[in-house]
C-alpha cells in the first residue's frame, strides 16, 4: 500500500514538473530577455533581430506544452498517458531545435543576450524531454496494479494437481 502511495506521488510530481517546465519555457524570455536592439531597414522600418522570431515560436511551443501538460491531470488510461508523455518530449525536442541555425536560429555573436536566454530554454527543454519520457514509461493502467488472478491458469493448476 505504501508503495502504491509512493508511486502516485511520483506521478503527481512528474505531472507538476511538466507543467512547471512548460511555464518556465514561456516565462524565461521575460526574465532573461533576448536581444532588444533593432535594425532599421533601408525603407526606414525598424526590424527586430534574428532571435526575436525564434523566441516567438518558443513561446507558442511553451503554451502548447502547458496545455498538453494539463491533460496529464485528466487522462487515466496508460496509452493516453504514453501519448501525452511522448508529445511533451516532442515539444521539448522542438524547443531545442528552433534556436538551431538550420531552423530559425539566434544571433551569431555568442556575446549577444539571446544566447543566455537560449541556454536556459535548452535546459528546460531537456528536462521536459526527460520528464515526458519518464511519464510515458511509467504509464500504467489502474487495473494493472491489482491484477485479478487468471481463471485459466487456476483451472490448469487444479487439473495438474488432480493428475
Amino acid at each position: 500500500m505504501a508503495v502504491l502511495k509512493q508511486k502516485s506521488l511520483i506521478v503527481v510530481l512528474a505531472n507538476a514538473l511538466a507543467g512547471g517546465l512548460a511555464l518556465a519555457l514561456a516565462l524565461t524570455p521575460r526574465f532573461v530577455p533576448p536581444c532588444t536592439h533593432q535594425l532599421e531597414t533601408t525603407a526606414g522600418v525598424p526590424v527586430p533581430m534574428h532571435c526575436h522570431w525564434t523566441f516567438q515560436i518558443e513561446f507558442l511551443l511553451a503554451v502548447a506544452a502547458l496545455i498538453v501538460a494539463g491533460a496529464l491531470w485528466i487522462v487515466r488510461h496508460a496509452e493516453a498517458r504514453r501519448i501525452v508523455g511522448g508529445v511533451l518530449a516532442l515539444f521539448g525536442l522542438l524547443a531545442i531545435a528552433v534556436p538551431q541555425p538550420w531552423v530559425i536560429g539566434i544571433c551569431g555573436n555568442s556575446e549577444m543576450p539571446c544566447h543566455q536566454t537560449a541556454h536556459w530554454l535548452w535546459l528546460w527543454a531537456a528536462l521536459l524531454i526527460a520528464d515526458g519520457i519518464f511519464i510515458a514509461i511509467r504509464a500504467k493502467n489502474p487495473a494493472d496494479k491489482i491484477a485479478p488472478p487468471d481463471p485459466w491458469e487456476k483451472t490448469n493448476a487444479t487439473q495438474k494437481g488432480a493428475k
Binding site: A26, P29, R30, P33, P34, C35, T36, H37, Q38, L39, E40, T41, T42, G44, P46, V47, P48, M49, H50, C51, H52, F55, Q56, F59, L60, A62, V63, L66, I67, G70, A71, W73, I74, P101, G105, C107, G108, N109, S110, E111, M112
Partner: protein, 96 residues
C-alpha cells in the same frame, strides 16, 4: 466533470498566450517601437547605408554608427571601411 474544466483551461491558456504574444510579451521594447523613433535613430546623427548585415541576417540595414545596432566601424589597411553588426558574429561588411 474534469473534461469541461480541461476545455476551459485549454481555451483560457491558449487565448492568454496568443494575447500575450500579440502584445510583445517576449520583446517588450518592440511594443513601443511604433510609438517613438527607433533606438538606432536616436543614437547618432551620422547615418550610413549598409549593403546588408550578412547572409545569415539578410537585413538590408541602414544602421547608424555609434548606435547599439552597430558594434564598430573600422578602416582596414586598404582604406575600406568595415562595419560589424552585433547580430553577425563579427562578420564584416565592406562598405564600398
Amino acid at each position: 466533470m474534469k473534461w469541461p474544466l480541461y476545455l476551459l483551461f485549454t481555451s483560457v491558456t491558449f487565448s492568454a498566450g496568443i494575447t500575450a504574444l500579440s502584445r510583445g510579451w517576449n520583446l517588450a521594447p518592440l511594443a513601443t517601437a511604433g510609438k517613438s523613433a527607433p533606438a538606432v535613430a536616436q543614437a547618432s546623427t551620422e547615418s550610413e547605408e549598409l549593403p546588408a548585415c550578412c547572409e545569415r541576417c539578410s537585413h538590408k540595414a541602414k544602421a547608424i554608427a555609434g548606435s547599439p545596432a552597430v558594434s564598430s566601424v573600422t578602416t582596414n589597411n586598404a582604406g575600406e571601411r568595415e562595419i560589424i553588426l552585433p547580430c553577425c558574429a563579427g562578420k564584416k561588411n565592406r562598405d564600398n
